[in-house]
């Protein structure tokens, strides 16, 4: 496999698009869910948290298999015709990132000093403002969860291969391209793609750190 510059750029853009979309979706669902788990006390909460922590260790090939079976032509969602599309990879990555976003958000909220909530209440804040205040105090830990989720989906290969199929120009991501290049003995390309992947991860981390720095207003 030897890819021209334009194709490599396309692969990088697609990887970023998939990773960002999956991260945003997983965080949109996971952060409120994690907030709820970290904020409230109800029967069965501990069991839920234990299940969530187990889901963190779920092998990506298992997720890939599950999504494959769901999206396969004869599967329950086969009519959507999503298998071997970049959207299918997004679905798998959301399933992968959701427990991370949820568990890390729950941990972030639980770690907030209990005085924050009490202080907000004593100053007359309602439930929503109190919740928002708690989230603001936990924002660095919440952002750290976003970074971890993003890193996980950007570097994922197993599920992307299974549900994306590594179709050239359509579902080939940086990680699946590296796998292919390595299997074809094109180590130069594999290393180059790996460096792009690293650069992307670094750029996003730096951007988030900059956001954190400016967020303290």
């Amino acid at each position: 496999m030897s890819a021209p510059g334009g194709e490599v750029l396309g692969i990088a853009v697609l990887s970023l698009k998939i990773a960002l979309t999956a991260t945003v979706l997983a965080c949109l669902l996971g952060i409120p869910l994690g907030f709820f788990l970290g904020w409230t006390r109800f029967a069965g909460r501990r069991v839920l948290l234990a299940l969530l922590n187990t889901a963190l260790a779920l092998p990506t090939v298992v997720i890939g298999l599950l999504i494959y079976l769901l999206l396969a032509r004869r599967g329950p969602l086969g009519v959507l015709g999503m298998l071997y599309t970049w959207q299918a990879i997004v679905v798998a990555e959301v399933v992968l990132a959701l427990p991370i976003a949820t568990a890390l958000s729950a941990a972030a909220i639980q770690a907030v000093d209990p005085r924050v909530r009490r202080t907000a209440l004593t100053l007359g804040a309602g439930t929503l403002r109190t919740a928002w205040t708690v989230a603001r105090e936990a924002r660095f830990a919440l952002l750290a969860g976003v970074v971890v989720a993003f890193g996980r989906v950007l570097s994922e290969v197993g599920a992307a291969l299974m549900v994306g199929g590594n179709v050239r120009h359509e579902t080939r991501t940086l990680t699946t391209a590296i796998t292919l290049a390595t299997s074809q003995g094109d180590f130069g390309l594999a290393v180059a793609l790996g460096l792009i992947l690293l650069a992307l991860a670094l750029t996003v981390s730096v951007l988030i750190q900059l956001l954190q720095g400016h967020g303290d207003v």
């Binding site: 009490r118 100053l123 309602g126």
Partner: protein, 333 residues
């Protein structure tokens, strides 16, 4: 009208009763000190009066209206605020913190900023307005938290150990600011302290708590003892001393010797007092027209005497004095 009226208030944590207050009325404009040792229930009472905790049973009325439901408590929190012993300042600027409660009340950002700045100025903290809260000392945090509470112009402010860790000058400044605030508008102040000197100096009313209950005496001269029982007049060991008390109780008990029941003299004299202890004066504090003299007699005893007697006896820190009190003056509970 009373700012707070408490009736049969009970609070328990983990099945253990931590507060049992039958009745308490705090009049408008009062300066009530809640005193007692650690674990006496002071913070528990303050959190209940601040309506951030729900009592196990009993009721609290704020300005004549009973606060019962969660909605009542939410409304009441708009009128009462609490400064905790270790206050928490949110991330951001000091001004943002002081404006927080006003913003929560729907005040516009501009007006909240102005009122917050004014509250900071009243506590002589104007120069801290733009400072990041993470860059403040403990003392500054405490004063900013008080400014944050006063900015809300509440009907009552509750302060949990407001001067713990502060130096004398800072304590004075804080209480002066609170007194000035009371001069500006009607404000009820309830503060918890384990230091009786603060209570006597700054409060005009006092509630002593002991193991979650209102104590009939101030928490001075309180001693945990084990009574042998068997006779109405018992000899009890407290540290190196043996005191005579009149009680038919047996087993663990608390002895209280009211400071105003102790007679001080420069020489031992014969009287009906069964307990006469020789000690060294270790502290002297003014208390209105009276003096609070702390005597180390093997145990620390506080005696309340008139300033005139104090001066006539020529008592001074380091000097020797005798403390006498009758067995029947010793309360057992």
């Amino acid at each position: 009208m009373a700012t707070f009226e408490v009736t049969a208030l009970r609070q328990a944590f983990g099945g253990r009763e931590v507060l049992a207050l039958d009745a308490l009325a705090v009049r408008e404009g009062a300066r009530l000190a809640v005193v007692g040792p650690n674990g006496a229930g002071k913070s528990t009472l303050l959190r209940l009066l601040a309506f951030v905790d729900t009592p196990l049973s009993g009721s609290i009325a704020l300005e004549g209206r009973r606060v019962a439901s969660a909605a009542d408590r939410r409304q009441a929190r708009q009128r009462v605020t609490l400064v905790e012993q270790r206050p928490y300042l949110f991330r951001g600027t000091v001004l943002g913190n002081v404006a927080y409660g006003l913003r929560a009340r729907g005040v516009s950002a501009a007006e909240a900023g102005e009122r917050a700045a004014a509250a900071l100025a009243r506590l002589r903290l104007r120069e801290l307005a733009g400072r990041d809260t993470r860059a403040l000392s403990d003392g500054e945090i405490q004063r900013v938290a008080v400014a944050r509470a006063l900015a809300l112009e509440p009907v009552a402010v509750l302060l949990d150990e407001p001067v713990s860790g502060a130096d004398r000058a800072a304590q004075h400044a804080l209480f002066e600011a609170l007194a000035a605030e009371q001069g500006r508008r009607p404000l009820t102040i309830v503060f918890a302290s384990h230091l009786l000197e603060d209570a006597y100096r700054w409060a005009d009313d006092l509630l002593a708590l002991h193991q979650g209950r209102a104590s009939p005496v101030t928490p001075e001269n309180l001693f945990r003892v084990d009574l042998a029982g068997g006779a109405p007049m018992q000899t009890v060991s407290i540290g190196p001393l043996a005191l005579e008390v009149v009680t038919d109780r047996k087993g663990p008990a608390t002895l209280a010797i009211p400071p105003d029941e102790i007679v001080l003299s420069t020489e031992a004299f014969h009287s009906s007092a069964r307990n006469v202890l020789r000690g060294r004066v270790v502290r002297v504090a003014e208390h209105g027209a009276a003096m609070r003299v702390t005597l180390d007699a093997g145990i620390e005893l506080v005696a309340l005497i008139t300033r005139k007697s104090f001066e006539e006896m020529g008592l001074a820190v380091g000097g020797t004095a005798f403390a006498s009190f009758k067995s029947v003056a010793v309360r057992v509970f």
